[in-house]
Amino acid sequence: MNAKGAASQAEQGGARPGNVALILAAVSLACLVITQLSQVLGRYLFNETPGWTETVSILLMNSAMMFGAAAGVRAGAHFGFTLGVDHLPATLAIGVRALREALVALLGAALSWLGLYLVLDTWPVKAAGAPLPQGLAYAPLFLGGALIALFALVRGVSILRGRSP
């Protein structure tokens, strides 16, 4: 397979995980609403505030953050200031944009690797207030970081091929 074919396959490969990232972020957000509402309902209907809501909310916040951020990388929606790059000569601008995506991919990979370390390191510890391992809170860092790296690489390849990602 030539480089063009590989790149095209990589771009197509980025589409499905992109949707998955967005769906996971949306599900996390919906669950966050339910978690907070159940806190209020528990207090007034059952006269008891559930203790698990804070731990679960933190997990859901981390999921919404990392999967939403990954979906944002895929869509090129992260907020940045491109005025400096916009004034560069075309070839140089392509190089800078590709390097930018490479940096994002590197950071995503670093977050993923360090997230995995935190998952494994804190897994034996029980989370406060909920029957969950503490390490679960870092799982979104591991998975979302990997997706950020994947989407940034796909975008980088598109830029080098002269396509607007």
Partner: protein
């Protein structure tokens, strides 16, 4: 050395167009490595920074705002504003400002405000013969109001950046009068420009029609009241109020207005999830950056430096205001709040400034950076909607800058403007 590295890496990457969150993260990693710290502390801070209990309110209010926006509430709010102030000098420009105030009470975000209100009002203003630059400048200046109106995301962020030790509901109340002052200031500028240029007005629809529009928009306007009363009465916490806002927005858009079907709801929740992810990731990255600043004792050094420069509270406030205005032009508001609060709040406290008052000053002053180049996100969105360059907008914006600066000075030097309402509502 590490401090220099932290800021040099940040600004070089920002200039190279690296997204803000990733520039902050890169700077944090580089500085941590230069200090011999394990890089895992940066990852830990990203996760911890974006999952503080107070911050849960931000994605939920984003979701509620998105529901209201796409569920037809913005059109009704604009309709009400048109009935109330459309007949004043400047017509559509005045409608634009009042709509921003109303919509700020639903979205709590300047960016959402300029997208929703500006997206509707700028094309209408241009069609009615208003200059594009004027239409854009009115919209982006008016969007500043949303920074201070409850449920302001930035005031929640400020509360989170001090570990929740400053009450969100006090901050919400503190922002109301400055927001009204900003609204009046921009409307006065509109009037002066309208008189000079002979800009058109809209016909007054009559009080019966205004009442009809008010009833139509009331479910949206009630959101702020529900939040205030619910928290103050102890029915729910500030964070829970955000979930209540989502439930209420679902009730309004799906049951009362019947403008939201299940398919649309899916679109709304995915849009809200993406926006939330982007914002939370910036917060996480800025938390890691801010943690390194604290590790390097930047807040302590700043307190000592400013104490040596300022003799009185007012001198210190003036110095801080100028610093925040300058920083605001180079930094986005969210990271700025997270980074500057731990540095400057101890200084303000040392001079006896109320942290609620300081929060309003920080958000308003930093918020002006959202409409100034080179990194004004609201300015960029407004000019994109208006189809003009940043340069075209900035050349004609100075009357609005003067008005905003005057409001900042009043807010800084009249603390009662921010502190009176929280004390009354307590």
């Amino acid at each position: 050395m590490a401090i220099t590295l932290l800021f040099v890496v940040l600004f070089v990457l920002l200039f190279a167009g690296v997204p803000v969150a990733f520039a902050l993260l890169s700077a944090a990693f580089v500085a941590a490595l230069s200090l011999g710290l394990p890089p895992v502390v940066v990852a830990q801070q990203v996760a911890a920074g974006a999952s503080g209990p107070t911050l849960v309110a931000i994605p939920l209010f984003i979701f509620a705002g998105e529901l209201m926006l796409r569920g037809g509430i913005s059109d009704r709010l604009i309709g009400l504003a048109a009935g109330l102030v459309g007949h004043l000098r400047g017509g559509l420009a005045q409608i634009n400002v009042l709509s921003s105030l109303f919509f700020g009470g639903v979205s709590g975000s300047a960016l959402a405000d300029v997208s929703a209100v500006g997206g509707t009002m700028i094309p209408q203003m241009v069609k009615r013969g208003f200059a594009r630059e004027f239409a854009v400048n009115v919209s982006i200046s008016a969007a500043l109001v949303a920074l201070l109106v409850p449920p302001s995301h930035n005031l929640i962020l400020y509360s989170a950046s001090v570990g929740g030790s400053v009450s969100i509901i006090d901050l919400f109340a503190a922002g109301v009068l400055p927001a009204l002052l900003m609204t009046v200031a921009i409307m006065v500028v509109n009037r002066i420009i309208a008189v000079r240029r002979g800009l058109p007005t809209e016909p007054f629809p009559g009080w019966r029609d205004v009442l009809r529009r008010l009833i139509s928009a009331l479910p949206g306007l009630l959101l702020v009241a529900i939040i205030f009363i619910g928290i103050r009465a102890g029915i729910f916490t500030a964070v829970e109020s955000a979930a209540i806002a989502v439930a209420y927005a679902l009730l309004v858009t799906m049951v009362i207005y019947r403008s939201m079907g299940w398919r649309r709801l899916l679109e709304v929740i995915t849009a809200a999830a993406r926006t939330s992810g982007l914002i939370l990731f910036v917060i996480g990255a800025a938390s890691a950056f801010g943690w390194l600043l604290a590790y390097l004792e930047v807040p302590r050094v700043t307190v000592e430096l400013l104490q040596s420069m300022a003799g009185t509270r007012w001198e210190m406030l003036l110095i801080l205001t100028v610093l925040l205005l300058v920083l605001g032009t180079f930094m986005d508001l969210g990271p700025m709040i997270l980074i500057c609060t731990p540095i400057f709040l101890p200084v303000a406290r040392a001079f006896g400034v109320d942290p609620v008052h300081f929060g309003v000053i920080l958000v308003l002053t930093g918020g002006i950076g959202l409409i100034t180049p080179p990194v004004g996100s609201v300015l960029f969105v407004g000019t994109a909607i208006g189809g003009i360059s940043v340069g075209q907008a900035v050349r004609a914006i100075w009357p609005f800058y003067i008005a905003a600066f005057a409001v900042v000075m009043i807010v800084v030097f009249v603390p009662q403007l921010s502190l009176w309402l929280p004390s009354v509502l307590r």
